[in-house]
């Protein structure tokens, strides 16, 4: 047997790193992966379709503002959901949490505390629901599917209990104003700014922090993560808290957008958020996923909705198209995974 080729001591002289960036362009191309590019391609195709079918209504600033505003509520929810799915979990309760947080934050009693009261209540209710989910899953060892399904049922029930089925109108002017044209800064609606901020923070959290690393590790191989010294349970708790926080923020955005709180808010958000994350390339089994992909997934869905509405097509057709896109995305995902 030959002696190992390795020198006994660590290499001290600087040898050029094997993967040194060759040119800025090249590194950009390798950084943006194939899946993100294909999602951008789909979005570009949709923009072309929209521009051809309804050039006046589709291609103007108002419509861009509209699409982004419509995307912001579900978008914020999807960012939280992406983290949960990456960690190998699922959160079916996001829609119910949004509903509960939005009605709790718009009760007469809460509205007495004004803007801050509404915002604070929405966020705290979201965090509280996330905490319950997290404790049940991480320390109660419940399956995420079941724990969050229970939260879905009881959250919706509680929201109905609070409202009695009534629509709770917002009377706080500063909250209402935030959703109106006067509040746009440089043409950007405040809701869209919040969405953008959540996206950026989510991206940084996933890609630049130990929290993100641990989330991916727990989803990729929980046993290996545990044996590497990661506190898997605490990490799971944090992840559901994060999802709850996103739901609380989304609930506040929805209050601003709709000028009211209603127990039917956030209807089927869980499915929309999961679908957007999956289209964006997040593995349902965990261990892989991107915030960019998920946000593109949301934008694709909302753009389709927009194009269909502008063309005055029926809801039914729209739902069929949505289903087809999910199937296509998963098929593409499988193909890229095997090559």
């Amino acid at each position: 047997m030959t002696q190992p080729a390795s020198p006994a001591r660590p290499v001290t002289e600087k040898s050029p790193p094997a993967d040194a960036p060759k040119s800025p362009w090249r590194s950009l191309v390798t950084r943006v992966d194939v899946r993100t590019l294909s999602l951008l391609g789909v979005l570009a195709a949709l923009v072309v379709i929209g521009g051809v079918t309804e050039p006046d209504a589709f291609l103007d600033t108002d419509n861009l503002q509209l699409v982004l505003t419509q995307a912001s509520v579900i978008g914020v929810v999807t960012v939280g959901m992406t983290f949960v799915i990456i960690s190998g979990g699922i959160d079916l309760s996001v829609g119910a949490i949004v509903a509960l947080a939005s009605v709790w934050a718009t009760t007469v009693a809460t509205q007495e505390y004004g803007f801050a009261g509404i915002l604070f209540t929405a966020v705290v209710v979201g965090l509280g629901c996330g905490l319950v989910n997290g404790l049940l899953i991480a320390y109660g060892r419940m399956v995420p599917f079941i724990a969050t399904l229970a939260m879905l049922a009881s959250g919706r029930g509680l929201a109905l209990e609070i409202t009695d089925g009534k629509t709770q109108m917002v009377t706080v002017d500063s909250v209402l104003k935030l959703g109106e044209r006067d509040s746009y800064v440089l043409g950007i609606p405040p809701l869209v700014m919040v969405f953008a901020a959540v996206t950026v923070v989510g991206w940084l959290l996933l890609n630049r922090t130990t929290f993100g690393r641990r989330s991916v590790a727990v989803g990729g191989n929980a046993e290996a993560a545990r044996l590497a010294g990661i506190d898997v349970r605490r990490q799971r708790l944090y992840l559901y808290l994060l999802s709850g926080l996103c739901c609380g923020i989304a609930a506040f955005l929805l209050i601003v957008l709709a000028g009211s709180g209603q127990n039917t808010n956030g209807n089927l958000y869980e499915l929309d958020a999961i679908a957007a994350a999956i289209i964006g390339g997040t593995l349902l089994s965990g261990g892989r996923g991107t915030i960019t992909g998920s946000v593109l997934g949301v934008l694709i869905f909302i753009t389709i909705q927009n194009i269909f509405a502008l063309n005055n097509l029926e809801t039914a057709v729209q739902q069929i198209a949505k289903g087809a896109i999910i199937v296509a995305a998963v098929l593409v995902q499988r193909r890229t995974a095997t090559t």
Binding site: M1, T2, Q3, P4, A5, S6, P7, A8, P10, V11, P17, A18, D19, R208, T209, T210, F211, R213, R214, V216, A217, G220, N221, E223, A224, A225, R226, L227, A228, G229, I230, D231, G287, R288
Partner: protein
């Protein structure tokens, strides 16, 4: 037997999975009516070989000749049609269906093509069960309600419900009581009397002596002995074939510490009376910086359990672990890691690595706080640190941003070692560090491990390979059935002596382990 063409001839079977070559030109010849035993350590390639035979894996190379004709087994159904039935170790029964429904799953007796004739299925299932000596099992019962032994019988009935010429049994006795084992052997006898061939896989050598006709021994994906007479070959020779070298490993020199008379450093790891009921008896152990201590023993002797309990991955039922005099919180991996312990687990893919991630991220995962400020990662620093650690271990390729799944087995192991090197750990627990590692890469790993010890690490090494333990360790603890039966400096022992100590179990002793041997026995499975 000689003039009759063999029932099955597999020759030159080769099968690779990403990072590991599971089978490397294996031959297997099986005659009609014989019990052909397949022996080998975990990871030797037995499971892969029988999966190729069952049509579950497609070989990369090699030929399969069945009753004189070359065949390609594209799917499990193709293998079944030829008459090959496989009873896997992890039983593949549907718990929510009845016994009869399980037996005829996929080939239900039907009327008019689609109506399942449940009564026919139950009647013929009852007949099969009678033939297997278990007429007490009701064909209408749910399989989930049966005991493990009864489920095994159902699995066997399912195999026999086909026209079968060859049955593969993967550790069929692992879950059985002694008298159930007797029944199993009677069934095997009946089958072979009818001319059916049985390929029998077991770790228990005494079983092979009782029912086996011939033995094929696998090691590291190669057949090291083909068709040995099962009853005449001495046990020691079989064991030596399973564990012994087929290549002369080069072990690094030990530091001449023992001679220079300087006082020994204080032990860094002290284990006192550590025990887990049913797995291993109270254990005392001291480990000093610079020392490699080996645990030698057969699969199921409690080696891995000891390592994982010291590491906190299993909660002990008694005793304590101290590092630098401080008692570790029992059952807490985090406490162990903080105190300076590191584990390279037995199942590298399932327990050690994040297979979807890059080498860098696999290496840095246990030391992230070192490259982060308030949770914010300094990725340049992380990459540089990971690169330094992997270079120090000569990990190939010299590019830590590649996904860890693309590495060979030896380099994957180096990635795990680099993780603990980077963490700056004081005690390294190595469980089968060279499992699934190419022969060529092993010597390199040995050098690395020895060098780490020379730099002051304490190493606790578990290996099925006696020469590896003897060649690498300073001190050796010989384990048998969860108990340390001998402790000695490595240079006072030789392979035969260790094998004798390990194999003293041929005289029946108290069995601590019940059920399947060892925590996990998946071998050479693809990384999927």
């Amino acid at each position: 037997m000689a003039p009759e063409p063999p029932l099955l001839t597999m020759s030159g079977i080769t099968k690779s999975f990403p990072g590991v070559r599971a089978l490397d030109g294996v031959d297997l010849h099986v005659q009609a009516g014989e019990v052909h035993c397949l022996l080998g350590q975990n990871g030797a390639g037995k499971s892969t070989l029988i999966k190729v035979l069952a049509g579950a894996h497609q070989p990369d190379d090699g030929t399969i000749v069945w009753r004189g004709d070359e065949v390609t087994l594209r799917s499990p159904i193709a293998a079944m049609r030829l008459g090959v039935a496989t009873i896997y170790q992890e039983l593949d029964l549907v718990e929510g269906l009845s016994v009869a429904e399980n037996v005829y799953l996929g080939h239900e007796p039907t009327a008019a093509g689609f109506v399942v004739r449940g009564r026919d299925a139950r009647a013929s299932t009852a007949a099969l069960l009678r033939r297997l000596g278990h007429s007490e099992i009701d064909p209408a019962r749910l399989v989930g309600d049966l005991s493990a032994a009864q489920q095994q019988i159902v699995s066997m009935a399912r195999a026999l419900s086909h026209e079968v010429r060859l049955i593969v049994m993967d550790e069929p006795s692992a879950a059985l009581d002694p008298d159930e084992v007797d029944n199993l052997f009677r069934i095997v006898g009946d089958l072979t009397a009818d001319g059916v061939a049985v390929v029998y896989i077991s770790h228990r050598l005494e079983e092979i002596r009782r029912i086996g006709d011939r033995v094929t021994v696998l090691k590291d994906g190669r057949a090291v002995a083909v068709g040995l007479p099962a009853k005449e070959t001495p046990t020691r020779e079989v064991i030596a074939l399973m564990t012994g070298r087929n290549v002369e490993y080069v072990f690094p020199e030990r530091a001449p510490r023992d001679q220079d008379g300087s006082p020994l450093p204080d032990p860094v790891l002290v284990v006192q009376g550590l025990a887990r009921d049913g797995e291993f008896a109270p254990l005392d152990l001291e480990l000093r910086p610079g020392e490699i201590v080996g645990l030698a023993g057969l699969v199921g002797s409690g080696r891995s359990e000891i390592l994982e309990t010291i590491y906190g991955a299993r909660r002990p039922t008694g005793g304590q672990v101290r590092v630098d005099g401080r008692v570790l919180r029992p059952g807490s991996v985090r406490a162990a890691v903080r105190a300076g312990l590191g584990l390279a687990p037995e199942e590298r893919k399932a327990q050690g690595l994040l297979m979807l991630e890059s080498v860098t991220r696999n290496v840095s995962v246990s030391s992230m706080s070192r490259f982060s400020y308030g949770g914010w990662l300094d990725r340049t620093k992380e990459r540089e640190a990971a690169r330094t650690a992997t270079r120090e271990l000569s990990l190939r390729p010299d590019n830590p941003s590649v996904p860890v799944r693309t590495l060979s087995g030896g380099n994957q192991q180096k990635a795990v070692l680099a993780r603990w090197l980077l963490r700056g750990c004081r005690v390294l627990l190595l469980d089968e560090p060279t499992r699934g590692v190419d022969v060529g890469a092993r010597a390199e790993l040995y050098t690395v491990i020895r060098r780490l010890a020379d730099e002051g690490l304490a190493v606790l090494l578990v290996s099925s390979e006696v020469p590896e333990v003897l060649g690498l360790a300073d001190r050796v603890l010989v384990l048998r059935e969860g108990r340390v039966v001998h402790t000695a400096p490595a240079h006072d022992l030789d392979e035969h002596r260790v094998l004798d100590l390990v194999l003293a179990s041929s005289t029946p002793g108290p069995t601590l382990t019940k059920g399947p041997h060892g925590p996990a026995t998946t071998e050479g499975s693809p990384a999927s």
